[in-house]
Symmetry: C2
Subunit: 155 residues, 2 copies
Amino acid sequence: MPENISDRLGRLSPEILSIMGVYALYWKLEEAFDCIETELNHPECHMLIKLDQPKRMGVLAADMLSVPSTITATADGLEKAGYLTRERDPEDRRAWLLVLTKQGEEARDMLVSEAGDLFHRASGLDAKETAEFARLAHKIRDNILKSGIPEGLTK
Amino acid sequence: MPENISDRLGRLSPEILSIMGVYALYWKLEEAFDCIETELNHPECHMLIKLDQPKRMGVLAADMLSVPSTITATADGLEKAGYLTRERDPEDRRAWLLVLTKQGEEARDMLVSEAGDLFHRASGLDAKETAEFARLAHKIRDNILKSGIPEGLTK
DNA sequence: CTTGAATGGTTCATAAACTGAAGTATATGA
DNA sequence: TCATATACTTCAGTTTATGAACCATTCAAG
């Protein structure tokens, strides 16, 4: 019965098409994340990927459009499992820097490479299309982080 | 202190850039969804948007990369609130067709228009870039639905 | 027909994830 | 030095998602 699943979407606006594509990809990636590193749950994977360098928890919260308490919980898990350590930020001793351990670095490298692979398989895009998609996605992310942090749009 | 939030991502692969962009956009859209129709929660919004025509619950589950029990719960909420009705599919009386009511149609129209607006504001893309992004996103979604339904990759 | 297996949804108990409000410690400015 | 703001933590409560067992209908054989 699932013959015409990707059905007549022609009349939908580019914005809705974009949103549907983004949601499909997000859901697919989340689903696929289950199958690589059983040790880690989703938010831990997300945080690990973002820790390409030591970062303050507040920065991560902004980066992940999340709130401090969520970041605390996720960091707790990663710290307890030995993937990172908390170090006081010398520039502001109220803040913590999350620093990956050796184990954390290795897990992150693995994750990043797996995720790249995943994107490739899930999206089905070739190199040129991927580059173009990445360019636009990067631009979108910049715009979101720029506009999303200072104000709040509604709250 | 949040001066260099969108920091040196130059060395990240296009795949990771894409993923980060997709996640940022997804999270931003989800956050923004909170602010339009307080009556509806997120999964209900998603389902409503997908119901551009009557659909079977199984089709929706495939479409949303979800499982039947989740679809049941979401449909229950929408039905109880008067946005849709269940009708037996005449072609297979085991299956239900989810059909939007007048109220559901109106809510959907509003949502679709709001979501389009949201995408516009969140992404910051111009019309040409949006069209290109939509083209790639649509292609990605097609690929995911095509490959995602039959097999399962790992399970 | 009648039977057995497959399919479309539902129920329910549980787990995973997120959040806001109140609290602690440090910083900053008057 | 004191008041206020910031960075993070704690915790209790909500929301969301899920798998396993279940019911009803269909389909394919005999």
